[in-house]
Amino acid sequence: MLVKICSIANIGLETVSVDVEVDVASIGFPGFTIVGLPSKAIEEARERVKTALINSGFIFPPRKITVNLAPADLPKDSSAYDLPMAIGVLAASGQLLTSSSDLKQMFFYGELSLDGTLRPTRGILLLGLFAQKKPHSTIFVPYPSANEATVVSGIKIMPVKNLAELVNHLKEKEIITPLNQVEIKEDIDSLVPDFDLSEIAGQEQAKRALIIAAAGGHNLLMWGTPGTGKTMLARALPGILPPLSSLEALEVTRIYSVAGLIRPGETIIRQRPFRAPHHGVSAAGMIGGGSHPLPGEVSLAHLGVLFLDEMPEFPRHILESLRQPMEDGQVEVVRVSGHIRYPASFSLIAATNPCPCGWLGHPRKECKCTPKEIARYRRRISGPILDRIDLWVSVAAVEVEKLALTNPKITHKITSKQAKTQVIKARAIQSKRFTNLSIYTNSQMRNKEVKKLCFLTPEAENLLKMAVEKYDFSARSYFRLIKVARTIADLEGHKKIMPFHMAEALQYKQTI
């Protein structure tokens, strides 16, 4: 008898329908064959399915069993076909009687354990979103990951603990209660950032630079001696970025669902992602890859922050590979199995020491590097990447004891919440400015837009001219300065760029 079970395959962030056809023949030698370009994990499903069925108290029919994963020319790589195969074997061998019309509206997805329980499986959200497009769908997914799909409306989500429970449900002996749908709430205040700005001692200028970076979508580079709070500052950035809208949250969750990074029980990701890959990361790890390409760090940082600590330590080709995503907001991974496009629109925050030993400019420690070593260290970051960094800020050593005892004059201790309000305001001004343009933040302006949309007062322009002469700015840094000044003016709510906005922007000019 032949049975057809519905499931899906995820290729990148795209989902296609896969029919798991199971045939238990009445004649022929006993055997279990899987066809339809299965991967190694699917080949091995034979043993899992067989053992899980037996251990759940069912009979594994001693017949010729053939499984076809259609479409046959699409390579499949997922352990999620265990469940549809097991259900198919049961139905085809007459141990489970269901009408084929019922099965058409059911999606089965999940990895089996040898004792018949279902294990967490990645890509559940994508299954939910796919099932949503068909009327009256029910999805049967592993209990530990079922929550992922609860943000999808219009489908019935059945969390399945084990095979026996599922069969009882299908035989209508014991019904599984479907999960309730969860609304994506727009509550932003309940989110607590990893680090609050007010927790970081001193570094007022770096904090200000973070706020400017968040407000204008600028990339930021911090440089300073070890232990001055560069990493902490970077971690505070997600907390001052405007909250994810529900569409954005879904977009981020999709990527994490494909990567299998959603923790069991978690529904939707509301925090802006913060990714801090180590400098030993491979190119595939950074931009995405593998024989069936999974999203890399740049995509996992989509709509969030990509933090590169010790930036000069990253191999040059890895840094170079960031150029495409930084330019286009997406990354294309080409492999034998086809090419896949992942979104990758992130804010880059980089940190570097001033010199190889790290102590250049420290008030008490002595730097042991020669000028040549320092020059070589600084040359390691490629020019094109540096060109895409708008803000440069020094994070100098802070004397902790001094900070703790200082006078009450430190009244400018800004909290993340206050900073976020400023950022949201500045972003609102920008979205108004860029209506009908395909850009959203000041950092995305091209020279054409800078000329058209950034109004400088004559004094500010004079100041800029003076600076260009003094520091020998290139044309690119010239426009970069105007963009930063524009964001500062937005933060202050000014229509025109005043001289003091320009003067402050000069504080964040390229220094290395």
């Binding site: 001193g202 570094q203 007022e204 200028q205 770096a206 904090k207 200000r208 300073g224 001033p354 250049l360 400019g361 002595e366 730097c367 042991k368 020669t370 000028p371 040549k372 020059a375 020094s394 100098a396 802070v398 200082t406 004059k409 430190i410 009244t411 400018h412 100041l463 003076m466 600076a467 003094k470 500062i488 001289p499 003091f500 906005h501 003067a503 402050e504 000069l506 504080q507 220094t511």
Partner: protein
């Protein structure tokens, strides 16, 4: 770079200083345009390779003064104090002689090459007693004896306890040259050598020209300038001390830097010396 050999340097009066040496150089090579006037008033400025911020400021303060007195700055063309002394001398329009610790025919690269070209363009000289000698641990002390012999005065800026600059002063003492040492903070490793020279009476204390302090007294108005009078500070520290938001202080710092009142190095601000 095109170099020439000086034939019979012993006969040249401008190089008579070298005859004072117990082991005078056998040969001399140079790059540049030979003008005997530049040997007339020579002062050697020597110091550590690992120059600190303090050393940098000392050079920026005293070299322009020396240049305005018409002195030629002699130094050893090594990175750190030596090269910065050459550089500041050129920036303030002075002439400088760079005595190399290696053969004159060796190829220079990067910053070294650029600086050498500037030295020659400003009618200075590159000088060496070797043609093809590779730099080695003994070539630098050998070079130092030429530095000492050619100058009338020697100023040491930043030297550790065992510094090559102290070799120069020892030779200079034998040659009866005037030795000056710039005192430094007693907490700094790189000031032990210079402070010792003063403490043991081997050098006179060099304090530069006092007049520059007085000129500034007149325009003491800005509280920010007042703060930087005695200290080198970062924007954060200035903001904290003035009790103003850092955005405002930053804008002010940028303006003052553009006006040329302040200088910024590695995120720290200091007053530009008025000389």
């Amino acid at each position: 770079m095109k170099y020439q050999k000086i034939t019979g340097w012993q006969k040249r009066p401008e190089l008579s200083g070298l005859s004072d040496l117990t082991t005078p150089p056998k040969e001399l090579y140079f790059v540049g345009k030979w003008q005997k006037e530049i040997f007339k008033n020579c002062v050697a400025v020597v110091g550590s390779r690992r120059m600190t911020e303090y050393g940098r400021r000392v050079i920026e303060k005293i070299i322009p003064q020396l240049v305005s007195q018409g002195q030629t700055i002699i130094s050893g063309f090594m990175y750190g104090v030596d090269q910065y002394a050459h550089q500041v001398c050129l920036e303030s329009g002075g002439k400088t002689i760079a005595i190399l610790g290696w053969g004159i025919n060796l190829k220079l690269e990067g910053f070294d090459l650029k600086l050498a070209q500037k030295v020659i363009k400003a009618e200075g000289l590159l000088l060496s007693e070797w043609e093809n000698q590779q730099p080695s641990c003994w070539t630098f002390p050998a070079r130092n004896r030429l530095v000492a012999a050619l100058s009338k005065k020697i100023i040491v800026i930043e030297a550790a306890e065992k510094s090559g600059s102290l070799i120069t002063t020892r030779i200079a003492a034998k040659l009866k040259r005037e030795i000056w040492s710039v005192p430094g903070p007693i907490t700094s490793r790189l000031s032990v050598g210079t402070n010792n020279l003063i403490a043991f009476g081997k050098a006179k204390m060099y304090l530069g020209d006092f007049s520059s302090f007085q000129t500034r007294l007149i325009k003491k108005t800005d509280p920010l300038i007042n703060l930087l009078e005695n200290d080198v500070l970062t924007a954060n520290e200035i903001a904290r001390k003035l009790g103003q938001p850092v955005s405002q202080v930053g804008a002010q710092l940028s303006l003052l830097t553009l006006e040329g009142q302040l200088t910024e190095k590695e995120g720290k601000y200091y007053l530009k010396n008025v000389s």
